[in-house]
Symmetry: C2
Subunit: 429 residues, 2 copies
């Protein structure tokens, strides 16, 4: 146990962390370009705040403790609860608000492949607008971020809670069976039609209802056709028709060509038994289906109201960074999102150190990533180290009068001073 | 309590968080330029790991809890313990290692002005080199980061544990009184000479020893003179002379002109009763003395050994981000480190929305920070909002045929298409 992390948690060594930082920086920069502003909250909340909203099933997964005043606290298990608390507690904030946060969350789950007790979430939310343009903005931004990370071999799946509910109504599934039916439907991609059927059976839902429902889910064709057909079936269900109209607005603006990736209406998408009230969506990898979805979200127009009493619409999308990183690791040449080491500065003896140190300062002031030898080992060993860390260049300081720039890949070297080396490197960037 | 954060913790709303993100990005970018690589560890550790190293005084400040397996855990109260555990547990990592981490830590302290129970630390460390060039690198990087943040009105104070110990030996303070004497001396800047004298009295240390010690502390003059005088007094103390030699190496390379800020040897600097074994340093604001130090660190050559049994030298510097931000907030025009909003896209009616949406996509693909109206409110209200969020430009989409770029400060507007607007904005950046 001596050097171990607590069960279900991990250390990140520099190589792994370089990739994580690359992903985080890409997301933060894309969030910025789309006009989203950052918020942050504490790692723990009052237990009441966490449990009140989520109910008992999640309560078992919260790390709880007391502070010295005997207050019950818990580590946050998602970011949305804290965001909803902040919005409810700060009515002075002008809406609509575009917000993002990237932070760690904790859940007492059974650790398994790709599932940890401490993991990173990246959330973006728009608060205070009922416009479907919110959904459009979030999905466009997510697609742009994935393009930047070169994982565009993904599909956006889209559904609407209002349509799901209308479907359950139309096949006459009783109110007390609805949650069970949705939970079963949510597993379709994992357990197949046979599996869903068995779930319906075990919950005592009549088979005619199962078969009726599957006809809805199975509607084929492109997004417009799907919406047309469901629209015809739901003509008399006002809420259901609202859902159809919402998806029509979204898919009118979001085409495959505007996103750079497919968007598919999928009437079996449920997204757990969460707080969603309108459109819901997930992003799945096409070539790594086994990883499931790595991003998802939806509209939650009632969550903030349960905290504040004040009706406040909200819509969000969340990246599961851990899965996203798993996907990135499987693409070739992913090191393009890791900051490279540009220059290693070597010197043959201590007499050259003051000049080498000034050279390092000049490279760095020019914004060039630079490392200087700290060991006083032989110049040969210094250069072997420069190769090992994949430095693009070595700059060797023999004396105040003589310095050389060496390109590590080609092993080409040329005598030149710091200023010339800097302009050479900047030119080739 | 409904919307509150747990006692001693804070929410960060977008305006505040923009500044924090600006500071974090500046530090991360400067760490990168200096060749430091990021690591990360979990928010909590086994309680044994945390307490083992730090002893009882800190143990009272740790948030502790058990996991479901009954294991004793604690939220980390600093980053260095986790780093030492990682280094001890990963002997395969090639040294010297340049590492950094920016993360939250938690302490059960009495909340007071500028002191919180959850706060952010930014640590950089070099592991596996005894060279004083490590100290030189860390202090140069810290000064460069402060220059970038425009808080160069600071002083670096420098001392060495080896000299402090030699001083205590030379005035014959007994071993069991040393910790108390150092603790008293550490408060000199806060409580003055009279205060330190009273502390010595209350600890029963003879007054002759206090007066002897103060003569050392009081040595005046520039750094070279100070080292010369202390060197003469310590000639027969081998360890003390090592300390003098170490500071000589550091101050030979680090001059006021190379740092862009003063560096002062100060023989009363102690830095708590921590694990330091060699040079120690602090950075203090010149114009905001009341805030005390906002960065500090030193060499800790024995900490990793206590965990691994393997002698491993290490040296670090840590920024207290909370105090650093307090200092930045008091300088005029600090908004220069916050990312600005560049373009707001407005449109007079829903017919113009699809064109406006494509325009937004084009600005964003050009890397321009862009917000599009989500409300469908009147164009006048949209432009008032653009002013309120300090957007530099508005781009108004009347139709596919007619668009205008408006510079918000001058209210100057001109009819032009998206491509022209992008090149206009990029040109003026």
């Amino acid at each position: 146990m001596k050097y171990q992390t607590p069960k279900g948690t991990r250390d990140f060594l520099p190589e792994e962390m370089g990739l994580r930082r690359g992903v985080i920086n890409t997301l933060v920069s894309m969030y910025g370009i789309y006009g989203f502003k950052e918020w942050d909250g504490p790692a723990f909340e009052y237990l009441d705040t966490l449990v009140g909203k989520s109910g008992e099933s999640i309560a078992n997964e919260i790390y709880t403790f007391k502070d010295k005043g005997g207050r019950n606290l818990g580590l946050r298990f998602e970011l949305t609860t804290s965001l909803a608390r902040i919005i409810a507690g700060n009515p002075q904030l002008k809406k609509p608000l575009r917000l993002f946060n990237i932070g760690k969350v904790w859940r007492y789950e059974q650790p398994q492949a790709g599932r940890f007790r401490e993991f990173l979430q990246a959330d973006t939310d728009i608060v205070g607008s009922t416009s479907m343009l919110c959904e459009v903005e979030l999905l466009t931004m997510a697609a742009a971020a994935l393009k930047k990370l070169k994982v565009s071999d993904s599909t956006i799946l889209l559904n609407n809670r209002k349509i799901l509910e209308a479907q359950l109504r139309s096949v006459n599934i009783k109110d007390d069976r609805k949650a069970g039916a949705l939970r079963a439907l949510d597993k379709l991609a994992k357990i197949g039609i046979g599996g869903v059927k068995r779930e319906f059976e075990s919950q005592g839902i009549p088979m005619e209802q199962f078969e009726e429902l599957m006809k809805w889910v199975d509607i084929d064709g492109n997004n417009q056709l799907k919406l047309d057909r469901v629209g015809r079936l739901l003509t008399n269900d006002k809420v259901g028709m609202e859902g159809v109209e919402e998806l029509r607005q979204i898919t009118n603006l979001l085409t495959e060509s505007s996103l750079g990736m497919p968007i598919q209406i999928n009437f079996s998408l449920v997204r757990g038994l969460d707080y969603y009230t309108g459109p819901i969506y997930e992003i799945r990898s096409i070539n790594q289906k086994e990883l499931g979805s790595f991003a998802g979200g939806g509209r939650y127009d009632q969550l903030i109201q349960t905290l504040s009493g004040q009706a406040t619409s909200a819509v969000g999308i969340s990246f599961g960074i851990e899965r996203l990183i798993e996907i990135i690791k499987k693409r070739k040449g992913y090191s393009d999102i890791i900051s490279p080491m540009e220059v290693f500065i070597g010197y043959p003896n201590q007499d050259a150190l003051p000049v080498a140190f000034i050279a390092a300062k000049m490279f760095r002031e020019a914004g060039i990533t630079t490392e200087i030898d700290l060991t006083g080992r032989s110049l040969g060993k210094q250069l072997a180290y420069a190769s090992a860390i994949n430095a693009k260049y070595s700059f060797i300081v023999f004396s105040a009068e003589e310095q050389k720039l060496k390109e590590m890949a080609s092993q080409k070297e040329e005598t030149m001073d710091v200023a010339s080396a800097i302009s050479e490197i900047v030119k080739k960037k």
